[in-house]
């Protein structure tokens, strides 16, 4: 069953067509990878899904309910959580308080006391339990990424949007993060993730959708995507990425 349906969504910024009639669906329980060259419109699509931007055309349907153009806080309460690409910790609040915000105002709308319990459990899950009383501003980048994830998880969403949570992590941290993402899926949360790290996304996704210049150019299993001529073409402009695409396929 489709948890999220995006139907013909377009979004323009001045003369730039950031999204052009994008349609895709996310099935319940899957990990869907969203890839594409820089500027393809991936983050814009996330912003449309969680209500930061209102699309000019098209509809977003979540759990059978149209959510197009609803404000972000309503969408959060319906059960979509997000970890940002550029981390946005609430600097002067502690790590625990940051995560409590997620639990308090997320889908389950918990009381402060319950939120504290949930936050402690989630911090344990992402490996930040030892830093709970530290101000978020003092964390390093890898920890801030985990904090983003923890905050999103504490909301107990149906769908989590992960925007390049692996970027900037070293190989060990990437491996740990992939385990965390698998555990998230195992706990029943559907995952939609933007990722540039090709071997990781090929490895973890059930399905992949490729965006280029705001349009969906391919959709399929990781194997299908790696063979797809339009995908290879799209990435040819970026030798590093096309190389990693081929390597990922070979490995």
């Amino acid at each position: 069953m489709s948890l999220l349906e995006i139907q013909g969504v377009s979004k323009r910024f001045g003369g730039l067509q950031a999204l052009n009639r994008v349609s895709l669906h996310v099935s319940e329980g899957e990990i869907l990878g969203l890839i594409g060259p820089n500027g393809a419109g991936k983050t814009t699509l996330f912003n449309v899904i969680n209500g930061v931007y209102r699309p000019e055309e098209g509809r977003v349907i979540f759990r059978g309910q149209e959510i197009t153009g609803r404000p972000p806080y309503e969408i959060a309460r319906l059960g979509i959580a997000r970890a940002h690409q550029i981390v946005r910790p609430l600097h002067e609040l502690t790590v625990l308080e940051n995560v409590m915000v997620g639990a308090c105002f997320g889908r389950e709308n918990r009381s402060l006391r319950e939120a504290r319990e949930i936050a402690l459990a989630v911090l344990e899950q992402v490996g930040l339990a030892g830093k709970r009383d530290v101000e978020a501003a003092r964390l390093n980048v890898a920890e801030k990424k985990r904090l983003e994830l923890a905050r999103a998880l504490a909301a107990r969403p149906y769908l989590i949007l992960l925007d390049e949570v692996l970027a900037g992590l070293n190989p060990t941290e990437v491996a740990t993060m992939l385990e965390v993402i698998r555990a998230i899926r195992a706990s029943g949360i559907t995952v939609l993730m933007i990722e540039h790290l090709m071997h990781a996304v090929m490895n973890i996704s059930d399905r992949i959708v490729v965006l280029d210049y705001g349009e969906v150019i391919a959709e399929g299993t990781p194997q299908e995507i790696a063979h797809h001529p339009r995908v290879i073409e799209a990435y040819l402009g970026d030798p590093r990425l096309s190389q990693s695409l081929l390597e990922a396929h070979g490995g």
Binding site: Y73, L90, V101, G102, F105, A155
Partner: protein, 320 residues
């Protein structure tokens, strides 16, 4: 809250300080303390918007003035007694903030701050031309009004007692907000409003409620102040510099903490008292306020309480 050491500490210190003039029966002590409690209330209520939510309000005193006018009008023209008039004054300013908030809280940062100055000037101009409020000359209470409170002297003590209750209520609400889910949402907005929205904080609603709550108490205090004063006029009610001095108090003590505005108000009142009475600095106290604000922002942005809490973590248990 009722099991919190820091709440009881705050409550008892304020209550003790507030009861001292009553116990000693000293009228000068009462006058000093009236001013301090009034400033504590103004600063603590400003802190709900400034310190917790991160929105700078240069027009906080507009609520003091307007609330004062509404209450004064009800007492003067309709013979209301102090209690109901005070509540009406507070509710009127909270309602005004509720309406204004839905409009101007769409603005952020410097634009919001500028809008608050605009509101202050607009309300002052309106009141100065509004005949029922006495226009530019304002209104004066008939001395006979105080007879209902057992004479003028007695009325001053009553106003003081009521102010003490309002101050305790304001600080109590400030404490409760800081330690509530609502407060956590406000602080999330302060730190990163867009991220807070994505996390599910109902930004527009939360900000408007914070603004209305911060407008309620100055409205009530305004009624008490002008009741005690006996007359009200636009120049007294809408003193823009008092808004800025209130900002200095909050920043001096430590924005975003419960104790910051209390300590900041008390310290600033003492400092101002000294400056106003010293022949050397007599007319320079506002220049000092400005300089103080600059120094705080540059060197101790967290204020006295913020500095203490960072330097001596043990103090956090008692000083909220």
């Amino acid at each position: 809250m009722w099991r919190s050491i820091s709440w009881w500490f705050t409550f008892l210190v304020l209550l003790g300080a507030g009861l001292w003039p009553i116990a000693s029966g000293s009228a000068t002590g009462r006058e000093d303390m009236f001013l301090i409690l009034m400033l504590v209330t103004l600063a603590s209520s400003l802190n709900i918007l400034l310190g917790y939510t991160g929105y700078v309000n240069f027009g906080h005193i507009v609520f003091f003035g307007l609330g004062g006018y509404v209450g004064f009008y009800l007492m003067h023209r309709h013979g209301w007694s102090l209690g109901p008039a005070m509540i009406a004054g507070g509710l009127a300013t909270a309602a005004l903030a509720l309406i204004l908030g839905t409009i101007i809280l769409r603005l952020r940062g410097a634009y919001f701050a500028l809008a608050t100055i605009g509101i202050h000037e607009a309300v002052r101009a309106f009141v100065a031309n509004f005949e029922p409020f006495g226009g530019a000359t304002g209104m004066s209470l008939n001395f006979a009004v105080y007879q209902a409170y057992g004479g003028a002297a007695q009325a001053l003590w009553i106003a003081y007692g009521v102010l003490l209750v309002v101050t305790l209520l304001t600080v109590g609400i400030s404490f409760a907000v800081k330690h509530s889910k609502f407060g956590l949402g406000l602080m999330a907005i302060r730190e990163d409003e867009d991220a807070a929205l994505v996390l599910g904080v109902r930004g527009p609603w939360a900000k408007t409620m914070a603004y209305a709550l911060s407008a309620l108490f100055p409205g009530m205090v305004g009624v008490l102040f002008f009741f005690k004063n006996g007359n009200i006029e636009p120049g007294d009610a809408f003193r823009l510099h008092l808004s800025i001095e209130t900002l200095v108090m909050v920043m001096l003590g430590g924005q975003g903490t419960v104790w910051g505005p209390i300590l900041g108000a008390a310290l600033y009142e003492r400092l101002r008292g000294y400056l106003l009475t010293s022949p050397l600095f007599k007319s320079l106290h506002l220049a000092f306020a400005g300089m103080l604000l600059l120094l705080i922002i540059l060197f101790v942005p967290a204020g006295v309480i913020g500095w203490l809490r960072a330097r001596f973590p043990a103090t956090r248990r008692v000083i909220a």
